[in-house]
């Protein structure tokens, strides 16, 4: 006789299975857009959220569930602190995994940066010295995360405002090596490359041309601002403005090299109407389509 415990049956998943979105452009789902996205789903291929906003439950989850019924989802974390000298928090992993199991995202990601030191979590993506010690530390934390989740993650290049004197490799080399050592993918933020290349005097095209193309699983675009700093200008990645022309140009260069990688328009403060985000996403889509069509025309010749 078999004993059947009804309450132990896994709940059937109400969402479409995870798959790379057929339309490569996405936008961030943030609270000012909850109702509008629920009522009249915009013409984009996928949505991105910060999982930390949905940890533990809460009323937000209602809107995330509604959105996931219609869209593929990318869970883009900001709190794992993968570059901290201390191990990734078990509790953070547990709550993150709960969301992955429920919402079945096509991508899961965080950053090559740190936030936690001692008992403080500083709520920013802080810079790392690019040394062998840091690489080993980051890889240990990525491996722990991937083991816990039972899947690979993407790791994003951060915007940086300081560069360490003891760096013994470039950032793209650091990213490529982390990806090679752990099998993780790379989330290439084009605006972050532009910002930090300006702030440190690096070459943004060289960065994109040197990144391991096969590993790039997602790209991000966002707006930045210019701040006066002495006689110079420092660029600050604020996610509060439209994408700048120079960044669009750099994105075009990236698409020519990397192809139609899922691309996100990020906007996290001074929220515009939803239609503005969608317009930016369509701009990215137009660039992808134009380059794909050029490729097809070239192949036909």
């Amino acid at each position: 006789m078999s004993v059947h415990l009804k309450h132990n049956e896994p709940k059937s998943n109400p969402y479409p299975p995870a798959s790379p979105p057929s339309d490569p452009v996405g936008i961030g789902l943030r609270h000012p857009y909850y109702q509008e996205v629920t009522d009249s789903p915009p013409d984009v291929g996928w949505l991105e959220v910060h999982p930390e906003n949905y940890f533990g439950g809460g009323a937000h989850r209602h809107f995330l569930s509604k959105a996931r019924e219609k869209y593929q989802l990318s869970l883009h974390a900001v709190g794992l602190s993968l570059g901290s000298s201390e191990p990734v928090s078990e509790e953070h992993l547990r709550q993150f995994k709960e969301l992955i199991d429920i919402y079945q995202p096509f991508n899961v990601s965080d950053h090559a940066s740190w936030s936690a030191s001692g008992n403080a979590h500083l709520n920013d993506l802080l810079p790392l010295p690019y040394t062998q010690e840091t690489l080993d530390t980051l890889c240990r934390n990525i491996e722990r995360t991937q083991e816990y989740f039972g899947r690979t993650i993407l790791v994003e290049n951060p915007s940086t405002y300081v560069a360490f004197a003891e760096n013994d490799m470039s950032e793209y080399e650091f990213m490529n090596r982390a990806s090679e050592m752990t099998g993780c993918g790379i989330l290439l933020d084009i605006n972050n490359i532009f910002v930090q290349c300006h702030n440190h005097g690096y070459d943004a095209h060289e960065y994109i041309d040197s990144i391991d193309a096969a590993k790039v699983g997602e790209m991000h675009l966002a707006g930045h601002i210019e701040q006066e700093a002495g006689d110079s200008i420092i660029l600050v990645d604020t996610h509060s403005r439209p994408v700048k022309k120079d960044v669009w140009d750099l994105y075009e260069h990236a698409v020519r090299r990397l192809g139609a990688v899922p691309t996100l328009i990020e906007w996290d403060q001074d929220f515009p109407p939803l239609s503005k985000l969608v317009e930016e996403a369509h701009k990215a889509r137009d660039i992808i389509n134009r380059i794909l069509n050029e490729d097809i025309a070239d192949a036909a010749e």
Binding site: S85, A116, N123, V162, N167
Partner: protein
Amino acid sequence: MQLSEVQKRFKDTMLDHPKALDDPAADFAALFNEGDIPLPARLKVYRNNIIGSLTDVMIASHPLLEKLVGHEFLEMMARSFILENPPTHGCLNMYGGGFDTFIENFELAKALPYLPDMARLEIAMNEAYYAKEDDPLKAEELASTTPEKLQLKLRQNIRLVSSKYPVHDIRDFCIEDDPEKTMNVDTGGVKLMVYRPQLETKIVRLENDEYHMLSALKEKMTMDDAVESTLNTHESFDFQGFLQRQIELETFLTLATNN
């Protein structure tokens, strides 16, 4: 310098007085490359990101305090709080617990003695909003349960607030936002339940005996002990009436999952 030490020094600098960034210690400054952009300007971007984003979180969860003391004063209190109490983990939904007691001891806020209780009310509302979903005990389930099997446990979104000020009236006053009006805050205290039956956080006023009973249940007393404790101080406590009202408010956890 080892990575752990670099991160500790960076953290300490970020949480230090803002002026510490203008003239960072020589061994800390030596960690970074020199360039056209001065180091203090570079470090200030990080500090502004950290303190600015956390201040935004605090201001967003305290719209009533903002109405009562103004944006600039709330921002100043929040910044002082953040430097003394940075978050301890990467999820900020519940960040800001303890702001009420911080305000109690904040010298410049002592002229407004109801302010800590207003902070308590807003913290309760925020916690109710982010509380884990669970199912309520409904009248049908209650009716099909024998009295000896009945146990009452509060749902995770339930918060209780007691104040010697009329914080619910002060809240209405803030929401009404009429510059022509003033209000007297010395009209007596109030006991409230903050709860989230669906997507919206709500507030309901409680009688003293109801508050006593719910507090006892919140402290994980059994139902019988909670009733006894309530009757000891509130002789006229009507348990059946209490039960009926709280079932309507969906205060209790369904018996299917409350063991």
